[in-house]
Amino acid sequence: MSRRESRLRAFAAKVRGFLRRHRQDWEFDHEIQEHLQLLAERFVVAQGMSREDAAAAARRQFGNTTLLKEDRREMQTFLRLAALWQDWRYALRVLWRSPGFSATAIVTLALAIGANTAIFSVVNAVLLQPLPYPQPDRLVALMRSYPERNYWSISVPKFVVYREHNLTGGDRPKQVKEIHASAGYFDVFGAPITLGRLYTDEEDRPGGPHVAVISNGLWRGRFGADPTLVGRTVRLSGDPYQIIGVLGPGFKSDPPADIWLPLQADPDSTDQGQYLRAAARMRPEVTLGQAQAAMKLASEEFRRKFPDWMDSHESATAVPLRDTVVSGVRPALLILLGAVGFVLLIACANVANLLLARATLRRRELAIRASMGAGRWRIVSQLLTESLLLSLTGGALGLFIGFVGLHALLAIEPVSLPRIGEHGAELTLDSRVLLYTLLVSLFTAILFGLIPAISATREDLNATLRESGARSGGGFRQNKTRSLLVVTQMAMALILLVGAALMIRTFEALRSVRPGFDGHNVLTMEMALSGSRFEKTAGVAQTLREVEQRVGAVPGVEAVAGACCLPLTGGPDLPFAIVGRGPAFSSYSGDEQWRNVSAQYFQVFHIPVLRGRVFTPRDDAGSAPVALINEAMAKQFWQNEDPIGAQLLIGHGLAPEFEDAPRQIVGVVGDIRDYGLNNEPAPIMYVPEAQVPDGISALDNRLVPFVWAVRTKVAPFSLIAEIQQEVRAASGGLAVAHVRSMEQVVGESTARGDFNTMLIAIFAAVALLLAAIGVYGLMAYAVQQRTQEIGIRMALGANPEKVRKMVVWQGMRLAVIGVAIGVVAALGLTRFMAGLVYHVKTWDPSVFAAVAVLLSAVASLAAYIPARRASQVDPVVALRYQ
């Protein structure tokens, strides 16, 4: 028999033995007793011994029975396992017997672990989960690349050239519900098909048929999962499209869409508008580096073919698709994960302190166990088991708290994070989150359990047993350990508080930023201007006039505007030239923000006119082309000159249908913050809606919804029904979507930052509380220990004031050391927050000073309570105190 087989058999026997261990114990005892008895009888009969002598002789001949039993157990079962089981049961009993301590420890841990679980489940969904496509790591976004940054938008000609360059191409224009996608789109994203077919390359050619592929959701929702749907014609934007296929149920596009139409990109297009998003799937053998090199090559080829259509420092590159989705939120999430990690460490320190205090109460128990022969490892493992039981219970509770808490938080404060779904619906308890929580719990147990366990077993047995019971206080070393823990807590709490203070300062700064417009009492809504009548500007202008008329007549309405976009939501940029100045002009930059707005836009948003005039209804298709610019644009391109009267050539270099006649600047308006409150105003040119080139109108209306903004004299929501009704009637029955007050729009623009601020503030508050409890616990314990000493001092004439000061000072000393360490650490760590803060330096001295003072004040308060107790000690009672 091989050695291995023999071991295996022994193992199997052990497993059996473990399961039947009590029965076997009894059988073995019986066997041995029988044997001893038979031996003894033999001695009596053969040698005439007395019963006692015979029994003794029998035992001698038999050998050490206890040792034998131990040997047997070792052989027959897993001694360690049995001990472990014993430890668990013992731990359960111990913790059950001190419910106050256990509950405190478990709740502390549950809150800390719960917070970690919550943040991790977000990190998991947003950063760790692969994209929901086959082999997601092969997907790349094709971007325009500039030395400063990359842009995920390219023009049709670039797409056509890049598509030929060995990479499978797919693309997705920015659209709300429909996606115009090339035939390669479905290959790239591995879209499964349920019914019918996908469109072919032939159908994707310019002038190809009007066909459509629809989502599974639309098929089930709108068409009742009709299996004969394929072949039917539906009207989209007034045009007939034949449905040729239904996608599989699992397919999720980003942005979510229900209908896919062939892009039918024209290879001869001269359109320079960068409104396509291109993505590609790399072949299995291609590395990211190779793909990037290929893109660079493709961009060089494009430059050779169309030297005028590319900026001098423009190139192209490939970026992992996942980065485009999450790179914006990654820093904030990692900072939150770090912050919540600190909370966990502080909680660990607290529980460790609790355990240390408890260990002194249990010293006699442990000493007795040790004197009965329990090895040091055995006792450490016993104590660690207790810690483990605490942390696992805390972890289980934390999982629940974290998950429920997170969803509650998201319900109260909806935040638009990518990939978490509506109200965090995509945040699920998957195996990774469960594993993370388990690991955090185990790690926590070791972290807070090991120090007390080791220090508890380091003690001198004899000294402990000789001491007089309950009041046997912790030795010097233990207090040192506990002080160290409190100092660490203080330092970590300071870091978190500094982080929170920086976020709160940012929050305030953003609230006090002047956005350049007044969003109060403004109602906004979106409308997709779909249909052939909106392919020309005249159709849009016509609708605009009617809406202005009808909505303007609603009582309570002050002004009505239509535009491409609302303030704070960004918009398109277009190339332009200043007539009479060559490209040699030093600050000529090529592209600037461009907005088509109606005459009352500036009135609705209270954007001031600084010079000249704003648009009037007379600035229509028949009158001279005019434009407005904002102050930032005036400053950048005219410095001290007067821009009024100068002429702009907008759309310069675009496809002919986008080219514009020279426009005269008739006024300068105030700046608005258009790309987030934390970004300085950018130059903007405004064009009257009625004068927009037809080509741009057609493109805009195909891609993005038009917006309406109405200034009201009363609360804007009170007029929703009437305004909505009038807008619909005036537009010929088009649907209105996304009705919000402008204040909501502003709120949404900072929602993510506010969410981060709230979370970090919560974490910091928890940290502050835990740290205060830590200081309080240590000082209260120290005072209790020194009651006798304090009593003597007072008996000898020390006044209460002095005693109080002594205790507070001891607590404060720890706090101050912790604060000092924390300040240094925070200086190193807050750098990582640079991208999250606004109008405050990450090393802002006032923030650091305020936080240090706050933390010290809280610590002194926490120390003051035990100090007061100390000063009230009655010397007579204290001296008798045992």
Partner: protein, 116 residues
């Protein structure tokens, strides 16, 4: 050194028990101890408790089985008997033992000759 010595002894005891069970059929622990005492007389001093350790080991390897039965004096006792696999093992071990003891014997004789 101690460990190695006991291993040799353990193996020896295992072999003796197997042989005993093969020769005498099912026996309880006490009976095995008596038989070994009988055979070895004064040559082998042994703590009878170690018989039980050995019995456990043999059981774990599946070379013997145990069954509850009634002893000569009408008491409940565990009876051990050798299994088929145990018999094979015994054969193997016996051969091994003979070979090794032969070798050792030769070596010892050689040493003795050189010394003389």
């Amino acid at each position: 050194m101690d460990v190695k010595k006991s291993e040799v002894l353990q193996g020896t005891l295992d072999l003796m028990i197997l042989k005993t069970l093969e020769a005498l059929g099912p026996l309880h622990g006490f009976g095995i101890a008596r038989r070994i005492e009988q055979v070895s007389r004064d040559v082998l001093q042994l703590n009878e408790g170690t018989v039980y350790t050995s019995l456990l080991r043999l059981q774990q390897q599946g070379w013997i089985t145990a069954e509850w039965g009634t002893s000569e004096n009408n008491r409940k006792a565990k009876f051990y008997s050798i299994t088929k696999r145990g018999q094979k093992q015994l054969e193997l071990e016996t051969k091994n033992w003979e070979r090794i003891s032969g070798v050792i014997g030769r070596v010892l004789r050689l040493e003795a000759e050189r010394e003389s």
